[in-house]
């Protein structure tokens, strides 16, 4: 008997294998994102999958902290698998990149993990790609991040993206100017965080909240629209802090307009995000084809302080797997990569290696048969197959592969002569 146990044939729940067209799509989307980031001047960096628990805990999403895979290091300290990567980038900025010329433009792509119950339909491993723009406090930086995110989704072929732009301080400033006692304020804030508008209404009932603020807090999901919504809200608000937020968003809109993307931007005053983490403009990207945001971002001026190197920062993350889902639902297209399988007669074995190499040089994916074969004249080739013999190169492409490949192969044959 072997001492080895036979391996399990199943997977851990909530994890996926990526095979065939799905794997190609996931890689292509990731590459489209990182290529876009690079073309905007964002430098790629790679950080570990494992970080000290307290480092990971400093990142976004208090609720996510209970969903981390944790384990113990040899010295007894606690480690976690990363649930997002911004905090790792911040750690690098505060240490190895300390003193670099400002602003820093950095980008990354990699998996993140969540130890949430399987079977809920939510994956426990997800691919994320994102950018961080560190060292600039102005709205130009926030606008650039929104523009990069939109450009990346466009390059990956995701059409009809809607960008919802909000501000982390709008709802808190409204709460502060609403004349609420501390307990009511906490109840309203908690209800907003839980997206429970029924509870918001209950918590506001019987409080001293001013009419304008109460009305705005209750109208929360409808506080969305174009530039004009800022004037609508501005007419009802008197507090200096919420008014400053509206002014910021007006300026941000102007910069976004310069980037030419306001057609797909909605201002969302009711956006509720992690207030302890975000400090300025925030945004979410949606596709009509998917029930989840494709990406999220915003300004987080406090995070680097936690690493002892305070600096203003803004950034975003794109959820690669959700983007793949949106692509698949949008087009229904499920095309795999085209690989030309090249066979050859025994006498052409040497020449076949040269032809394959030349075709690869021209950008074609070529798999060379491992054994020679004989094709009788007139015998039909299979789809995506080519064959080389004394009579030259013959090929048969798949229907969806156009004339471009035909021309390429013809040129290659011409070259070989």
């Amino acid at each position: 008997m072997s001492a080895l146990q036979s391996p399990a044939r199943g997977r851990a729940g909530g994890f996926a294998d990526w095979v065939g067209a799905a794997a190609q799509r996931r890689r292509a989307v990731t590459e489209a994102f990182v290529d876009t980031f690079a073309s905007w001047g964002y430098e790629y960096l790679a950080t570990p999958l494992v970080e000290p628990l307290e480092t990971v805990a400093a990142g976004v999403g208090g609720g996510l902290q209970t969903q981390l895979f944790r384990f113990m290091d040899a010295d007894g300290s606690l480690l976690a698998l990363v649930g997002e990567r911004t905090v790792s980038v911040a750690r690098v900025v505060a240490t190895q990149l300390q003193g670099s010329p400002s602003p820093l433009r950095l980008c990354y792509a990699g998996p993140v993990l969540f130890n949430r119950a399987p079977l809920g339909g939510r994956r426990r491993e997800a691919m994320q790609a994102g950018c961080e723009l560190i060292g600039h406090p102005g709205l130009a930086a926030d606008a650039e991040c929104i523009a990069v995110a939109a450009a990346a989704l466009e390059r990956a072929g995701i059409a009809g993206v809607q960008i919802d732009v909000g501000h982390a301080d709008f709802v808190p400033s409204l709460l502060d100017s609403a004349n609420l006692d501390a307990a009511s304020r906490a109840r309203v804030a908690a209800a907003l965080h839980q997206r429970d508008l029924v509870a918001v209404e209950e918590a506001l009932r019987g409080t001293e909240a001013g009419d304008a603020e109460r009305e705005l807090l209750l109208a929360f999901p409808t506080l969305r629209g174009g530039r004009e919504i800022l004037d609508t809200a501005g007419a009802r608000i008197t507090g200096p802090r919420p008014r400053r937020v509206l002014a910021d968003l007006a300026e941000l809109w102007t910069v976004l307009d310069r980037h030419g993307i306001t057609a797909s931007v909605h201002l969302d005053l009711g956006a509720v995000r992690d207030w302890d983490y975000y400090t300025g403009p925030t945004f979410e990207l949606f596709s009509a084809d998917l029930g989840w945001p494709l990406g999220t971002g915003g300004r987080y001026d406090r995070l680097l302080e936690a690493f002892g190197a305070g600096a203003p920062a803004t950034g975003f993350v794109l959820h690669v797997d959700r983007c793949c889902d949106a692509l698949l639902r949008g087009t229904g297209e499920n095309g795999g990569a085209s690989v030309l399988r090249l066979g050859y007669a025994p006498e052409q074995a040497r020449e076949a290696v040269v032809v394959a190499s030349r075709l690869r040089g021209a950008g074609l994916a070529v798999a060379l048969d491992l054994e020679a074969s004989v094709q009788r004249p007139g015998e039909l080739l299979g789809d995506g197959r080519a064959h080389l013999d004394g009579g030259g190169l013959r090929w048969r492409l798949r229907d969806r592969e156009g004339g471009g490949l035909d021309a390429l192969l013809a040129a290659c044959v011409e070259d070989a002569r």
């Binding site: 809920g120 339909g121 809607q162 997206r195 508008l197 999901p221 409808t222 596709s287 989840w292």
Partner: protein, 229 residues
């Protein structure tokens, strides 16, 4: 999307009232008997599907439906990333702590160690934590009222609309641990990408339940609450 919004309705106690509400609000022409047979119905204004109550938040969170109607009691147990938009006021019921007649609990005396049987472990835990009681919870899937009689638990935390089931099983309400009514929930992306339609739905349902209360003095549901066996 053709057929308008996709709306998930809960099978069971809330189903007929939910259908009536959608009809009264002019959202969709639904014949409950027909939806009973075919599970999904495409109308001019909406696509309506009928699923298990616990599955409503799943359909909505995952974006398979834009919106759904579900009891708050279901949301207690499986918190999901959905927006809770409107209290629809029908299907009212309460979560109560109940103990057998003669139990010290009914006299307000709580023993140090207590075992409670419930179908609602999350809400029960939250209640016991809020009143500072250390209780061992036993999760059951049905007939919770039986547990004290058979010595499985000292008390139960269960949903009641009329109290009849409790009485029939010689249980006495000790405290209220929560109140539930039907809620309109929506997918987080649908609220942004189909905001016009979702907000219209919310406004229409809100108007209908409010008007119903004004005109008749009670929510627009004849068979209010859950039917006790």
């Amino acid at each position: 999307m053709n057929g308008g919004l996709r709306i998930a309705l809960p099978a069971g106690a809330l189903f007929e009232d939910a259908c009536r509400l959608l009809v009264a609000a002019g959202v969709a022409e639904i014949d409950p008997a027909r939806l009973d047979r075919q599970l999904s119905l495409v109308t001019r204004l909406a696509t309506v599907v009928k699923v298990r109550p616990t599955d409503v938040p799943v359909y909505v969170e995952m974006g398979a439906c834009d919106a759904g109607i579900v009891g708050k009691d279901i949301l207690w147990e499986s918190p999901r990333d959905c927006y809770e938009l409107v209290d629809l006021r029908f299907g009212a019921c309460r979560l109560v702590l109940a103990a057998p007649e003669g139990s010290p609990l009914t006299r307000g005396s709580f023993p140090r160690s207590l075992r409670a049987a419930t179908k609602y472990p999350v809400a029960a835990r939250r209640y016991f934590d809020s009143v500072g009681l250390a209780v061992e919870l036993i999760k059951l899937h049905g007939s919770v009222e039986l547990a004290p009689a058979m010595g499985l638990a000292d008390c139960v935390v269960d949903i009641t609309a009329t109290g009849r089931t409790l009485t029939a099983n010689h249980l006495v309400e000790v405290a209220e641990a929560g109140r539930s009514t039907a809620r309109l929930i929506s997918n987080q992306a649908s609220l942004k990408t189909r905001s016009g339609a979702v907000n219209q739905l919310a406004a229409a349902l809100r108007r209908t339940v409010t008007d119903g209360e004004v005109s008749s003095g009670s929510p627009p549901s004849a068979g209010r609450g859950r039917s006790a066996p």
